[in-house]
């Protein structure tokens, strides 16, 4: 292909959009409507997922060890771990794949936390009644999990360690969050597939109608000796441009709406921001933008190439 033919093809692609402005507008509007719904749903699902994941991050398991005290049972004697062994167990926990973070809580910190959590303003007064730390030797670990569905496996392993006296965890929270996460994943995959399928069907039909009304033009080109490539190129470029515009429009709209909603919630319902973790704009659009643009351009490309092919056999 000569360079002037390439420029001619590109120019014709743009010119065709304006020549057939009503079909171009209809195609752009269809693509925009479909991808707007897709983008909106994607934003909602991703935020919902982010909120659940944030909640999951807060789910922790607390591991207590046997220690010497007045009510120490005979059967745990010999199972009381040394400081070195506690550190070693901490390292073993941290090395497990499902563990995202491990925090060591010493007996002093545990006693301090107890007093702060339970005595409030009487902290100083009540503290004077205790000459030494009643929780002396009661060290523990707070273990955070990357995936709550693996919590029960971790708990089973922790409970099997002879030095461990107790493992505090909430199976109900873990199961609820894990179930919610799974449900969101299945529902969102299902709806996104349906939305994409409907979008592809609607968009390719609109592009097809836009090209079919110009089948006469394609016939004329073929009769006077135009190659398939020469006929097809402006249509394909036109399809891709329509796809690009149709995808860019809802992205711009969703970007505006999303920013507005985030600001609105941030200002009016700031209390919610502690436990509702909305995805930052950049993170959401980092995925949504390339996906929407690829879908728009891809459908425009495929829709036009398939439709033009039908009219090329002259």
């Amino acid at each position: 292909m000569k360079i002037r033919t390439l420029f001619y093809t590109i120019r014709q692609g743009f010119v065709n959009i304006f020549r057939n402005k009503w079909y171009s507008l209809a195609s752009i509007a269809t693509i925009a409507a479909c991808l707007f719904l897709f983008g909106l749903f994607y934003s909602i699902v991703m935020n919902f997922r982010s909120i659940v994941m944030k909640a999951e991050e807060g789910v922790s398991v607390t591991v207590f060890f046997h220690y010497e005290n007045d009510w120490c049972d005979a059967h745990v004697e010999g199972q009381i771990p040394s400081d070195a062994r506690i550190e070693e167990i901490g390292q073993m926990i941290a090395n497990r794949a499902e563990v995202s973070d491990v925090i060591f809580i010493s007996d002093e910190e545990a006693w301090e936390n107890y007093r702060r959590d339970n005595w409030g303003e009487n902290y100083e007064a009540y503290s004077k009644g205790f000459l030494e730390n009643p929780l002396k030797g009661d060290h523990s670990y707070e273990v955070f999990i990357s995936d709550v569905s693996l919590q029960s496996a971790l708990v089973t392993w922790l409970e099997s360690l002879p030095e461990v006296s107790k493992v505090n965890h909430s199976a109900l929270t873990a199961d609820t969050l894990s179930g919610a996460n799974l449900l969101i994943a299945y529902v969102s995959i299902g709806i996104i597939i349906i939305l994409l399928a409907v979008s592809i069907f609607l968009i390719s039909n609109t592009v097809a109608i836009g090209i079919s009304v110009r089948s006469e033009e394609i016939n004329i080109m073929k009769y006077i000796g135009a190659t398939d490539f020469f006929v097809r190129s402006p249509f394909v470029l036109e399809g891709m441009l329509i796809g690009l515009l149709g995808a860019a429009l809802p992205l711009w709209l969703i970007y505006g709406i999303y920013n507005y909603v985030l600001n609105y919630i941030g200002e009016r319902f700031s209390i919610l921001s502690n436990f509702l973790a909305f995805l930052p704009v950049d993170e959401l659009f980092g995925v949504l933008t390339p996906v929407s643009l690829l879908v728009g351009i891809g459908i425009g490309f495929l829709g036009s190439i398939v439709t033009v092919r039908k009219h090329l056999h002259v």
């Binding site: 073929k222 006077i224 000796g225």
Partner: protein
């Protein structure tokens, strides 16, 4: 003919012997029904002017579509400019068609473009430089008498003028053969004669002209070779002949 395309010299010899258009026992049967063309043998020499006449359903349009390689023969061979059209691959068809000029009854112009763009389009597809297109298009528009209307949209033109644009588009690439399918079918007598006069001038400049028509008056007045078809077969082929009314 062998399996490979003939060399240029052999092709010239073939055209000399058989004609620039040669149909060798050609039949065309559509998927259902009787053959549209039934065992036709026809040769048209380089530089000839031939009328193909006949009633509706006689096979004239099928003949034109075979020559354009829009259809392929069910039986027999169609040779145009020494090429066996059945052997042309799909990708070779555009190049082949560039040697043919085609004019239709319904003009088939690109109605959203002006006269200049319609004619220039035929040159663009064969990648003629723009500077040459700017020289060639006004020249051919002057030949068909439309020099002053190059900016007009085709919808603004009369039927006769639209057919002239179609003729200009067909001729601008200097084809060896001009195929005209009912070129006067949508025109009044005055415009019809003007178009036929143009076709005759084009023929005199060396182009082979094949005209499919119903127009008895024109055929009888022009005293050219007349091939008459009926129900898919040639029933007469006469130099300086007349439109035979079989009914």
């Amino acid at each position: 003919m062998g399996k490979k395309e003939l060399s240029w010299r052999k092709r010239e010899q073939f055209i000399e012997d058989n004609g620039i258009i040669f149909l060798d026992h050609v039949s065309k049967v559509y998927s259902k029904g009787a053959p549209a063309i039934n065992d036709i043998t026809l040769g048209i020499a380089k530089g000839e002017f031939v009328f193909i006449v006949g009633d509706s359903g006689s096979g004239k349009s099928t003949l034109i579509r075979l020559l354009l390689r829009e259809l392929t023969a069910t039986e027999g061979s169609v040779y145009v400019m020494g090429s066996d059209l059945a052997k042309l691959k799909h990708r070779q068809v555009p190049k082949f068609r560039r040697n043919l000029g085609v004019v239709f009854q319904d003009f088939r112009l690109l109605n959203d473009r002006n006269v200049y763009e319609n004619v220039a389009f035929a040159q663009r597809i064969i990648e003629i430089p723009t500077s040459e297109i700017r020289r060639n298009v006004p020249t051919i528009l002057a030949t068909v008498g439309l020099a002053g209307k190059y900016k007009a949209k085709t919808r603004q033109l009369s039927g006769g003028e639209q057919q002239r644009v179609a003729l200009a588009r067909a001729l601008v690439n200097k084809p060896s053969i001009l195929l005209a399918d009912e070129p006067t079918g949508n025109l009044d007598p005055k415009n019809s004669w003007e178009i036929m006069t143009l076709l005759e001038e084009i023929n005199q400049s060396g182009t082979t002209v094949v005209v499919v028509t119903h127009n008895r008056e024109i055929v009888n007045a022009m005293h050219k070779r007349v091939v008459t078809m009926k129900r898919g077969v040639i029933i007469s082929d006469e130099e300086g002949g007349e439109y035979i009314d079989e009914d």
